[in-house]
Amino acid sequence: MRNRIGVYICYCGSNISDYVDCEKVKDIAAETTDVILSKTTMFACSDSAQNEMIEDIKNQKLDAIVVASCSPKLHLNTFRNVAQRAGLNQYNYVQVNIREQCSWAHSNTPPQATEKAIKLVKAGIARAKQSQELTPMAIPSTNSVLVVGAGVAGMRAAIELAKMGTEVFIIEREYFVGGRAAQWNELFTTNETGREVVSRLYNTIMEANNITLFTGADIDSKTGSVGNFDVKLRIRPRHVKPDCKLDWGKFKKAVEVCPVEFDDPFNFGLTKQKAIYKNFPSEFPEIPTIDVEHCTKCGKCVDICDKIDLDQKEEMLNINVGAVLLTTGSSPYEPKTGEFGYKEIENVVTLQQLKRLIELNEYDLIFKGKKIKNIAYVYCVGSRQVDGENKYCSRYCCTSAIHTAIMVKEKYKTINNFHFTRGIRTYGKQEALYHKASKQGDIFLQSFEDSPTEVYKENGHTVVKIKDILTADKELEVNTDLVVLVTGMIPRKNDSINNILKVPIGRDKFYNEIHPKLRPVETVIDGVLIAGACQAPLNITESVKSSLSAAVKVNSLISKGKIELEPTLAQIDKLLCNWCDKCADVCPYSAIVKEVKNGKMFAVVHEANCKGCGMCLPVCPSNAIQLIGYTDIEIESMIEALID
């Protein structure tokens, strides 16, 4: 039993101390038997606090430590390393979660939160007393990864992982790669087009011999755990044979004869699309595809191109990977009908539609047959919502709107841009764009959230009105030919992936990382990582940075060929065991076998097979099985401390 225990209560800035009286918790912990020292700390994870713990362990000859702070998901390893650096076995460290499961969960009742924190810390001390010196186990891991989403972030991560020697499977739900970036023309800061960026990434992927790309593909199911996931992929048919060498003229003819027509999602409904399609000549993969949801299978396109196969079937493919990286990206916010006149006033569009409109109109900007002279950009649509759910700033949209306004001015010269903002957030280098737009004559107006910009029809004109704080709250109106709603970012709809992988989703509906600063690409699901705009509103540069970070993290996790796991093993007391085979019967890993010694039969655990699930524990009629780290004495002493 440990009898020289150190206890540290973390304020976590004020995340804990705002609701929990940390000093009181510390004082009560200090009175507990076998506690040698008890301290509070502003940030237990800070270097200075860690060094202080190391000094304490050495100077006070501590044989166990307890840190009451955040979730173990975040800092278990941090403090285990502290223990190791001080010469203490890492399993003589116990983390008590008084943030997620106490101060935040009970922020509405601070005195009760303090009372609960005291009990949780006492339970942690009880566990520390019983803790043993252990050595972690190692399990083999497959050096291959599944990247979900072949947008810029996913493709960039795939390339980096492949370079580091990891085998990569990359799947894309759509039939063409590139995600949103493929839809955009010039990008800030390089003025490359989105397509050029996508082409470069696609070509690199095609040249790599350890990357396999599937388009029209989804995850169907997943079993296993970190290091060894078995994933079943569903690959939907493209209905065009892979050996199709696209003749653009022939393809255009096939498109012409297709009788089906519907709103083109690539152009956000500004144009029509046929059931056989390819959005632009250099789109990848090179061969077109058929939208089966709309195709009537009339066969007219087959008459023109014999590489079209309307009978292709869905395929299922099993792969084994060590980790999964989600790069599923984002979607533009779709305004509600009537929101700033959207879908009610005929000349109200979104920023994404304007971007496509610019590409579709070579000389004059024409919308619904009318030449555009004045454009009003309404900012923060679907972001920083006062009443709606999206409280966050989408970050990219101020820059994107201004960048688009500059393109408009450069391409069409005479158009006037009016920006109805709630304060411009062109952070970093993007501020240069704001300066450029101002210099070119764009008008920037600003309102507060309590008096939002209004869009309405008056005498046949579309009017945008603002109470402009930059001109001492003057009410200003602009007659406009086109209202552009600068819409924010929302995560892509991923219901099926979410059901299978169960990655936590935050209040903003984006995937949640373990910690935004300290573990920004990991999730609480071991072996499932996130990168790019599926995690938060990010621009392309930021998405790529995040994907490279995730690539390195994935590689470091699975490339060693083994992953360290908790030494949680079942142990059988041979004296108590009378071999009834119930434990062997329930063990999913065949880790328990019968042994006979001196005429007595008893169960034995094969440590190599035991995964530490503990399924054998409750079925033993003689309570002969203990799970390391979860022994009766540990659990029961914690129960007693909690109820004390």
């Binding site: 979730s71 998901k73 979660n97 943030r99 997620e100 499961q101 106490c102 101060s103 935040w104 969960a105 009970h106 922020s107 509405n108 009742t109 009760q112 939160a113 009372e115 609960k116 009990k119 949780l120 339970a123 079993t223 296993g224 755990s225 979410n498 169960k502 990655v503 936590p504 989703i505 935050g506 209040r507 949640n512 609480v524 699901i525 071991d526 908790e566 949680t568 329930v586 999913p588 995964k611 530490g612 699930c613 503990g614 399924m615 524990l617 409750p618 079925v619 309570n623 799970l627 979860y630 009766d632 659990i635 029961e636 914690m638 129960i639 007693e640 909690l642 109820i643």
Partner: protein, 130 residues
């Protein structure tokens, strides 16, 4: 519930990889539940011993809740069945000891089930209080 310590005390057995993240998420999202709910985590919900549950009730907990892995268990697809069996066995033992079986509840809590967890806790505390 007013959150006073006189409210029924519940011991939750959560699982490290599946239900504990959901309980963390509830805190992160500031979804409040009674502060008399305490959690001990285990690797898998099918590893919980009846004697631990009985010990908790014997020592003064008013209820025990198993936040089970359900079908998300990474150890075995028999987890749900095994956890159900241990609940059944424990219910039988509770009856033998004259303890109301309603004091032990189980529900599958997946890693993002913060809302259901909070709802279960509020309902369980209310049920025990009444």
């Amino acid at each position: 519930m007013d959150g006073k310590t006189t409210a029924p005390r519940i011991l939750v057995f959560s699982t490290e990889k599946i239900s504990d993240p959901a309980i963390d998420l509830a805190g992160l999202l500031k979804k409040h539940y009674p502060p008399t709910v305490y959690t001990i985590n285990v690797p898998c919900s099918s590893s919980i011993k009846s004697k631990w549950i009985l010990h908790a009730l014997d020592k003064g907990f008013d209820g025990v809740f198993i936040a089970a892995d359900g079908t998300d268990c990474s150890f075995s697809d028999t987890c749900t069945e095994r956890t159900g069996e241990l609940v059944q066995r424990t219910h039988a033992l509770m009856k033998e000891k004259g303890i109301d079986p309603a004091k032990l509840k189980m529900a599958a809590i997946c890693s993002v089930c913060s809302e259901p967890f909070v709802k279960h806790m509020k309902n369980f505390v209310e049920a025990l209080a009444s």
